[in-house]
Amino acid sequence: MISQRFFAAGADRRIAITISILIGVAVIVPTLNIAVAPDSAFHVPSYLVALVGKYLCYALLALALDLVWGFCGILSLGHGAFFALGGYAMGMYLMRQIGDRGVYANPLLPDFMVFLNWKELPWFWHGFDHFWFAALMVMAVPGLLAFVFGWFAFRSRVTGVYLSIITQAMTYALLLAFFRNDMGFGGNNGLTDFKDILGFNVQANTTRSALFAASAATLALGVFVTWRIIGSRYGKLLMAVRDAESRTRFLGWRAENVKLFAFTVSAVMAGIAGALYVPQVGIINPGEFDPANSIEVVVWAAVGGRGTIVGPIIGAVLVNAGKSWFTGALPEFWLFALGGLFIAVTLFLPSGIVGMWDSWQAKRSGRKAAADAADATAVPEMAIAPAAIVRGGRPAAGAAPEPQPAE
């Protein structure tokens, strides 16, 4: 079984497989959607393309969160805000692309502004008619917010739940702010009714497929970047900060900078995820800032396996697929199913799906090693590792002592 080999693989191999799968999906799914006749068994309906494309964006968001939460112990309850900001930046570009095709046919102002009687484009909307500018903002706005926020918070040594709660306060404040019509982002209706992206109709199948491919490829890139970060000395440092922040300071490391870098990178990743998400779902509104959304992201990562690279991806896809399916199949009872799933995961898969798999593997190989060692007569010392350690990767979860809790 592929999945067998996949899960059993060492960290590096697993990453390679994940990236290949993502690239493969990026190529195959659009092909099956566009090039295969709709009545063929191999045809992938557009409905699925859009759906899975959305999941991939969520997966990137979950991966971004895991970079700070899983590897650096920063439980951000406000990552939805970075996602939403990236989404808004993209949404603003898409709004500007509507041009005079809006309902009021105003060439400059988006409909909601006309309709609220605005006379000119607010300053912060300038530049968004260029894709490159929007693309820059997709990364710069969340990145900058994360940088400023993190700069203050980490310097003041805000940690644990205190940090979690102020990130939540941040996204909540943004939620309220973006709800206001006066903010100039379309109030609670948000930005919608998009027409073109880079000159292509967003509703066209080909565009949708292209966006899907872009999402898959970006996720693959995200996996690669995260993997490189985690594998580097900085990655080890990141985990050291997670486990014993003050100790790293006494070794001369600036823990605040370590965290700030990860937090900013993560925010940028979340922003990109948001930017890819918006053209695929066709709307961005303040609901994305809802603190509950950010908590859900945490839940995805936890379900898949915190502190692993593949875990959050699996978690995001699984939980969201479950949600899509349950809300259709059991519209009145799906919350029981979803709630039950979360409880079951914590009880039976305490380190998430991937984490559990790892520790199960570790136990197995550990036992095998122990058995081998027992055969060898001269055991120098307690030479057997308590848990198989993946060199350069993360130690096996489960057997490993828990990282410092958020508080």
């Binding site: 404040a173 839940v299 039950g340 305490p350």
Partner: protein
């Protein structure tokens, strides 16, 4: 409110029957009969005015009944009656002397419709009529009505009433009512000067607006003196405004504290990131609903006691659910606080949906006992009884909890267990029991908070969601694990909010509070009442 109204109405009835004989009854009956022909609001209004103009106390009862929508026309003969609904039937009384006349099916009657304009006209008419009532409270109410609707034509009547008034407080109000009428009259400057003095001594919003309106139209010394009075009142009101904001802040703070206090235990003390906390509050609110429902069905007389009955019930219900959650899920997660977030999030979804399935998605009506309805005046502060009760209740719960945590062995064991579960066990503390009971206590407290909060918010499956973020904010802002921190945190956030709100509006105010929390945490990274020193870093 309704209760109060009934009392007043009954009093009026009595007064009416006593003096009825004096009025020319036949004439009144003729007037009353006109209601039958009045088929629109204007016509009805005209009849009311005519009745009011008779000055006969005998019509008080029927006017009151009219404003309450219980005046009927019998279809058979166009006769007018006051009616009391009894199931599908209506018990009829004579409109003037209140004698029972019999019972008729609803279909046989037409209700005389009222609207707000009409209600106001009736109230004004009653105000004139009840000036001579035997009950000082009624006279007081009449004086207030006349004060709010000043009419120079009433000066004479007021003069007479003042002359005959024995109760000082009522007399003062009558004089104020007279003064307000004087300002609109064409009396001389001296009278008006005196009136300005009287009004400025009242120093409330109403006298302020009357004086400023007068000031706008007055000239010369009157204008100056009115302006001076306006300025004084403004000043005193500004002070009261501060007091009012403080009070609103305290009462909002109490709500926050009540919502957060259970979390201060489950999260603050035990370290469980309890996302199902809001649902524990919700269960308390639904328990209140069920208790009230049972009382309504079986013993309506006990309704005023419903909250007292609901409190222990809610504590038990939420506590039991909390116990079940702890035994079923949380106990497997100690030492892994982050996973409690995931599991309790799941629990929260399930509880919400369970309530939705059982009770339906819509709001449930939780009534307010009469003793908690309405408001009373403290100087220029209008203090509503339900808020006052919540403040007092919240302080009581807080004091009790503080006692349990700090002064009982159980409290000590709770804290020991959460700080080092393994070592606590080695000290002979039965950790599972302490865990279970602590979580149950936190949940139970959340439940009784739900009883209180059901009085001000809508009881729906989302009830708890509305409080969860604020609760975490309060606990964290105050400093996790510190009950006093939670207390001070809730109160200061409440007061801050209420001082910002008038300037920024509710939305910006809330945003600013959030931003201030973020900034504050930079200054004190471990909350308001941060624990310092090695003990924390260890």
């Amino acid at each position: 409110m309704g209760f109060l109204r009934n009392v007043v109405a009954a009093g009026l009835m009595l007064a009416a029957t006593l003096v009825c004989a004096a009025a020319d009854e036949a004439e009144l009956r003729q007037l009353v009969a006109k209601f039958a022909d009045a088929n629109n609001f204007q016509a009805t209004e005209a009849v009311v005015r005519e009745l009011g103009a008779t000055g006969s106390p005998a019509v008080e009862g029927l006017l009151t009944a009219l404003s309450q929508g219980s005046l009927y026309v019998r279809k058979a003969d166009d006769a007018i009656f006051v009616g009391d609904e009894v199931g599908p039937d209506i018990k009829l009384r004579d409109p003037l002397n209140g004698e029972a006349v019999g019972t008729v099916a609803k279909a046989g009657l037409t209700k005389i419709k009222v609207n707000n304009t009409l209600r106001r006209v009736i109230r004004d008419a009653l105000g004139g009529l009840t000036l001579g009532s035997n009950d000082p409270a009624v006279r007081l109410a009449a004086a207030d009505t006349m004060f709010k609707n000043p009419d120079p034509a009433t000066i004479a009547a007021l003069d007479a009433a003042i002359a005959g008034e024995a109760v000082d407080s009522v007399k003062a109000r009558l004089e104020q009512a007279r003064a307000s009428a004087v300002l609109l009259s064409d009396l001389g400057e001296a009278d008006k000067m005196a009136a300005i003095d009287i009004l400025s001594s009242r120093a409330d919003q109403d006298s302020l607006s009357q004086l400023s309106r007068f000031q706008a139209s007055a000239e010369g010394p009157l204008r100056a003196s009115a302006a001076a009075a306006v300025a004084t009142i403004d000043q005193s009101l500004a002070l009261w405004q501060v007091g009012q904001n403080v009070w609103y802040g305290i009462s909002l703070g109490s709500v926050l504290l009540l919502a957060a206090i259970g979390l201060a235990i489950t999260f603050g003390v035990m370290g469980v990131i309890n996302m199902a906390h809001g649902e524990m509050v919700m269960l308390g609110a639904y328990t209140t609903f069920v208790v009230q429902q049972v009382i309504r069905d079986t013993a309506p007389g006990l309704f005023d006691w419903s909250l007292a009955i609901a409190l222990p019930m809610a504590f038990l219900v939420s506590g039991a659910v909390g116990l079940a959650i702890e035994r079923g899920v949380i106990r497997f997660l100690y030492g892994r606080p982050l996973e409690t977030l995931l599991a309790t999030w799941g629990v929260s979804l399930i509880l919400q949906q369970a309530v939705r399935t059982i009770f339906g998605p819509t709001n449930q009506e939780v009534g307010t006992p009469t003793w908690m309805s309405g408001s009373f005046q403290l100087g220029q502060l209008a203090i509503t009884w339900n808020r006052l009760c919540i403040v007092v209740f919240c302080l009581a719960v807080f004091a009790l909890l503080l006692h349990v945590m700090k002064r009982t062995p159980w409290g000590l064991q709770m804290r020991a267990v959460t700080q080092n579960r393994r070592m606590a066990a080695s000290m002979g503390i039965r950790t599972p029991r302490v865990d279970a009971l602590t979580f149950a206590l936190g949940s139970g407290i959340a439940g009784i908070a739900g009883v209180a909060l059901s009085q001000i918010d809508n009881v729906s499956p989302n009830f708890g969601q509305g409080y969860i973020i604020d609760s975490f904010m309060v606990v964290v802002f105050g400093g996790v694990g510190n009950l006093w921190g939670t207390f001070v945190g809730a109160m200061s956030l409440g007061i801050l909010n209420k001082f910002l709100e008038p300037y920024t509006g509710a939305v910006l105010g809330k945003i600013m509070v959030l931003v201030l929390i973020i900034l504050f945490i930079q200054k004190r990274p471990r909350g308001l009442f941060a624990l310092k020193g090695r003990a924390v870093e260890a």
